[in-house]
Structures are given as C-alpha cells and as structure tokens.
C-alpha cells in the first residue's frame, strides 16, 4: 500500500491492541472522558464554522473554515472511540446527532456564542493552549495506545491552530486602539470560563490513575506560563488568578447556548431519523 493510501485508510487499517477499550471496570469513566474530548472539538468546531461565509476577509474566512473542519475530524476520532468503548452500537454520528444537551460533556468555554473576531480568536487561543498541552501529554504518555494514536494524529493540526491563534492575539492585542480594547474585553469575558479546563473531578482522577490522561494540575502550570508570556507580547493585561470559575459543562450542566447549537446541528437527524445522502 502506498503512503497516501495508508493515511486515508487508517480508519480501517489494523489498530493497536488496547486493553482499556474492553476494560469493563473502567468503561463508564473512559466513555465519559472520551465524550469530553470529542464534545470539546465538536462544539468548538461548530462555533468556528459559523464564520464560514461571514469572515472579515477572505483569507480569515478560509482559515477559520479549515480550523472548523480539523476539529470536526478530531470529533469523529474521539467519539468513534467513545462509541466503541461504550459498546452499545453508537458511532460518532449517533453520539453527535442523537444525544440531548444534558448528555454533552464539553467545557462551557467552547459553547459560548462566537461573538466578534476578538472573542473568536481569544477563545481559540485559550482553548488551543490547553488542547495542545493535553494532546502533547496524551501522545507521549498515555497508557492507552488508541488514545495516544488519536492524540498524535490531531496534535499536528492543533499545533498549527495554536500558532495561528497566537499570531493573531499578538497582532490584535498590540494592534490599533480598537483591536486592543476588543481583545482585552474578550479576555475579561472569557477568563471566568477558563478555570473549568483544570477543575478535575472523579472522572479526571480515574483517568489519571489509570495512566490514560494527565493530572490536570500539571497541565495548568504550563498553560498559565504560556498564556502569560503571550499576553505580555500582546500588551494585554492578564486577569487576576483564581477568582470565580463557571463550571458544569464537563458534567452536563450547560449554559442556555448549547441547546441552540444542538437544535441547529441535530435538526435533520431528529426530523428525518437515519436520513443519508
């Protein structure tokens, strides 16, 4: 098989042995955690796709649409594995189109409305900085070969997302008076939603104990440093550490915004179950 074929057929190619996938004792927690990974990519991908055809310039429009497509691709891998672990015959499509809002496990940060470009780019950066650290750890250290494989595959795209978002945060933060003001406002709006990324619960503890996922406290140190460095460069003021953090998305308690996303995203499969084209 030639190299390009190998790449496109990897879904059907032989997958690494992974005892975690069939480990019944860990099944509920592993499934939940995989839904968190997949739902973050799915909901942020959907939010980002809302710019398609509405970008401020052609080049940004295409770049955002590319980013959205990358994230939807990641969703297919994470939720595909989630369905496999669950073992009830649900694939990535079923999990995406036929779950209710309370069953979604994404961070509140990624479901907030797209706002202006400042909010969109700032959120992308804040999430990418976390996503990049998470995937780097998983690709290198996860004891689940399937998780490590997905992480390694998605990390390349997320590295580019982080580079691109960082470049834009610096340019807009250290740009005109208006772009600086908007970026600072975006930061102040989004900051209280960042704490949830590192607020571990019993699912995170179980994954960390099993060696599948990292200890979130360890990730936070790297994230704080990366965000502070970039904010210095972008002449943006970092909000005070600690403080109030909105939480609940990881456990299924969402803002009112998620329902509207799902209404749009799930309409077709709900109205015409099983429809294909």
């Amino acid at each position: 098989m030639s190299a390009p074929e190998a790449a496109t057929n990897s879904a059907t190619a032989s997958l690494p042995d992974d005892t975690f996938v069939s480990d019944a004792s860990l099944r509920p927690q592993f499934f939940e955690w995989l839904c968190r990974m997949g739902d973050n990519a799915l909901i942020l991908g959907h939010r980002t796709s809302e710019w398609c055809g509405h970008g401020p310039v052609l080049e940004e429009d295409i770049a955002l649409a590319n980013t959205a497509l990358d994230l939807i691709g990641h969703t297919q891998m994470w939720l595909g594995l989630a369905g496999e672990v669950e073992g009830e015959g649900r694939d990535a499509d079923k999990l995406t189109y036929l779950r209710d809002a309370m069953k979604f496990r994404n961070l509140l940060l990624v479901e907030l409305p797209k706002g202006d470009m400042a909010v969109t780019i700032m959120r992308e950066f804040l999430f990418d900085a976390y996503h990049h650290l998470m995937l780097s750890w998983l690709a290198e250290n996860s004891k689940s070969p399937r998780v490590a494989e997905i992480a390694a595959k998605t990390l390349k795209e997320v590295s580019y997302h982080l580079d691109r978002a960082s470049d834009l945060v610096v340019r807009l933060g250290d740009g005109s008076a208006e772009s600086h003001r908007r970026m600072q406002e975006a930061m102040d709006l989004l900051w209280p939603y960042c704490g949830e990324m590192f607020a571990g619960d019993e699912i995170d503890a179980a994954m960390s104990d099993a060696g599948i996922a990292p200890n979130l406290d360890d990730l936070q140190t790297g994230w704080d440093a990366a965000v502070r460095d970039l904010f210095d460069e972008a002449t943006l003021k970092m909000p005070d550490q600690g403080g109030f953090a909105h939480k609940g998305g990881k456990q299924g308690r969402h803002t009112e915004h998620l329902g509207f996303i799902l209404a749009e995203m799930q309409f077709l499969q709900r109205a015409y179950p099983g429809a294909t084209w």
């Binding site: 310039v57 052609l58 080049e59 295409i62 770049a63 590319n66 580019y160 580079d163 691109r164 470049d167 834009l168 340019r171």
Partner: protein
C-alpha cells in the same frame, strides 16, 4: 472613502523536492508571517507543497506590456538559441 487594506502578497509554492517554487496566486495579509499562514490555508489544503515563499507584490518589478516588441521580438526566428539539438540522456530526468 479610505479603507485600510492589508498589503498584497504573491505566493510561490514548491510542489515537491527538486522542483522550483511556482507562482500560485496572491493574497492579502498584514505581515509576512501571517501571509505564510494564509498561504498555508488558502493554497496548500490538499497537500500541494513542501515549501512556501511569500513576496510583497509591491516589490515585484514587472516588464511593461507596451515594450513587448523590443523585449521579445528579436528572439524570433533564432532557432539556434534553442537547446533542441542535443540528445539528453534519460538519466538526467526532468529539466
């Protein structure tokens, strides 16, 4: 009305190792680094390249179409200037 536009950049992409960079089009970007990012997103989505060059369009000096005659016509009917009278060994490959 004066609307501030980003400057225009010409994009060159090397399709594979050993080939030259080829002009593929142009785009707008605020600076060189963002121009590379945009070129990656606009022109290499389907794995078209291994290397990207971007050049500010304003730095390109072009020949004037009205000078086409003096520039190019003298080369007409001088077939001896074409290297078509040599046998090129197969091993040379693409030229």
């Amino acid at each position: 009305m004066t609307k501030k536009e980003w400057p225009l950049w010409e994009v060159f992409i090397r399709g594979q190792h050993g080939l030259n960079h080829r002009h593929v089009g142009s785009l707008h970007a605020p600076d060189a680094e963002m121009a590379i990012n945009h070129a990656r997103d606009v022109y290499t989505r389907r794995k078209e390249g291994v290397s990207i060059w971007v050049v500010p369009s304003r730095d390109i000096t072009a020949s004037s179409p009205s000078e086409k005659g003096p520039l190019f016509d003298p080369a007409e009917s001088k077939t001896y200037r074409h290297p078509t009278f040599f046998d090129i060994p197969d091993e040379v490959g693409k030229m």
